[in-house]
Amino acid sequence: METLRAQKKESKKKTPIRISGAEAIIHCLLAEGVDLIYGYPGGAIMPVYDELYKFQDKLTHILTRHEQGATHAAQGYARVSGKVGVAMATSGPGATNLVTGIADAQIDSTPMVCITGQVPRHLLGSDAFQETDIVGISTPVTKWNYQITKASEIPEIMAKAFYIARSGRPGPVLIDITKNAQFDELDFAYEKCTGVRSYKPVPEPDLKAIEAAASLINNAKKPYIVFGQGVILGEAEAELKALVEKAGIPAAWTILGLSAMDTDHPLNVGMVGMHGNYGPNVLTNECDVLVAIGMRFDDRVTGSLDTYAKQAKVIHLEIDPAEINKNVKADVAILGDAKQTLDLLLPLVKKNDHSEWKNEFDKKYQIEYDTVIKNDITPTKEGLTMGEVIEQINIASEHKAVIVTDVGQHQMIACRYAKFKQSKSNITSGGLGTMGFALPAAIGAKMGAMDREVVAIAGDGGYQMTIQELGVIFQHNVPVKIVVLNNDHLGMVRQWQELFFESRYASTVMTNPDFVKIAEGYHIKSRRVVERSDLKDAVTEMIASKDPYFLEVKVEKEDNVFPMIPSGASVSDIRLK
């Protein structure tokens, strides 16, 4: 694995060189610092693959087993490293297979550049073999997209693609390149993009707004911070911690904000949202000042907007002006990059202590512990719980692992109980809720952070949506750890059926294959746990393994995730059982 990543060498090109479009694309990638891409070849992108072959000592291409896997791997890579992930595919079905990952990256603000091959320019619009209008298809789910039909456009457009993907609020960019543009020659010289005249990635902070926010915070009796991924994307973790500690404000995270702040920090009070913690949800409706940092008030966070934080003055720190007043009206909106705005806010905020108010969170935590958490992580019933598996992973990995989750009950349980000391460690599909995300995203995460332990946690349903990516793990010996929490159900949907559809389990019961045998088929070390007595040993063995490792844990079939805010209910009406 160590040798898998090609050595990156500086590629300086000052005077133009005469090369093909396909080769130019490689030079663009190298100039942007890319040394790893994920993809799948096919007719319309073959000239580029031919160049990848020639440049394999500088640029590693990982063949995922499905183009969706390439996008999620690129996302996982981007989310742990903060760099732009790159995925490549051919035209037609190759391109359409990217769409789910692109949509996921768009809603979760992940920097990604996707490159697709396209039929030659003269065949555009003729319904040629494998022609599909991927620019049209991907428009609503990309930050920007463009079709290159002339080789000479390549350097400028590629530079723009990377600049747009990573700047401001990051997102996915798709570049579609017709085959003639790959074959034709151009005079190539690369210049990085430093600005696009119609695009202002980071708004200027308004000092008046910052002063107004400081005054609200300084006069607050029950201030409360909710932070999201903006803190991670803006690398503002230290500034957030400084604000929390100086002003003594309890802080909670959205699912994508998880790991921006040490989960054991005394002022870190837990998760907001549908399956978040009791105190952070209920007390949203008791705080007097709500400081929202780099988060977008998703409906899974707010529940019913009519009853969300109505008593509070809302301060919203946000890089994207379109998020201001979109869902929740801000009394004070601070536009800008979180690092910069928090830095400006910090000196204006008075040192303070709100222990009495923080005490309210502790009391609520005790209630949640007694009714939910205790039974989740130290169960006394016979069947294994998802919570105790996560707890064992915490112990074995000493809170240092990158946890990559799929979508469903296991995701909520993992995000509730996983412990983190380091930022960029929780990789999950939050906004789109894409089943099948975890396995390929974990591959990308491992390749983006080779020195870190990476554990994928999936349900038996989502795991089977991208299970073929085991082939990548096997072929390249990518030492990720894969945990399938097998309840033989599409657990989260089954839970809703139980609670809201009178237990009519329509198509949520699954007859599963032998997952251990499947992993063995890929020559991946694997183990199945059915008894509690084996769990600790198996998890310890898994974490200690230098090689990839697959662990299936048979968990209780019909457990539910609580607390829960039923959709459309108020955060105050969160159910503990």
Partner: protein, 175 residues
């Protein structure tokens, strides 16, 4: 909040695909575009979309925020009818014999303040510029006699207040 007419003005780069991107913003929110016009603007190389919707102010604002967020959009505004000077144009193709046989047609042309663009052996073409209801009234008046073809343009509008695009462009460029 009540629905009312809003004119959305978008200043943008003149790039292929941007129309699709902008119309997608309305589609995603299930909002109908009542009229759409794309033309050049007062600034060289900058296009202007003029879009009319019937919606609440809350929606008009959010849509403008989403439009402005697009990389190739320089700035977008929304205005109520009171805040703009606006017009639409229409062309009516009518059989030539009616011009001579139907006395009333002459009156309609006069009263509606429309112009005869061309007269051929078989047909003549009337053009009318004005508010939508004026064009509707003219249409209703002519309809009983038979209209061979009818077309109406999207609304075009200028705002009473300034739209300081040049400054914004300069500011972007100086970053």
């Amino acid at each position: 909040m009540e629905n009312q007419w809003y004119t959305i003005s978008v200043y943008s780069e003149n790039n292929i695909g941007l129309l699709n991107r902008i119309s997608g913003i309305f589609l995603k929110r299930h909002i109908n575009i009542e009229s759409l016009n794309v033309s050049k603007s007062e600034i060289e190389d900058v296009s202007k979309f003029t879009i009319v919707i019937f919606a609440t102010e809350n929606w008009a604002r959010k849509i403008v925020q989403q439009i402005e967020k697009q990389v190739e959009v320089i700035k977008a505004y929304y205005h109520t009818d009171d805040e703009t000077i606006y017009q639409e144009s229409a062309l009516f193709k009518i059989a030539s014999n009616l011009l001579f046989d139907e006395r009333q047609i002459q009156n309609i042309i006069k009263e509606s303040n429309s112009q005869i663009v061309t007269v051929a052996r078989d047909f003549f073409v009337l053009s009318k510029t004005g508010r939508r209801h004026e064009i509707d009234e003219m249409h209703d008046a002519l309809e009983p006699y038979g209209i061979m073809q009818f077309v109406r343009s999207g609304r075009i509008a200028v705002s009473k207040a300034t739209m300081p695009i040049t400054n914004i462009l300069a500011e972007f460029q100086n970053q």
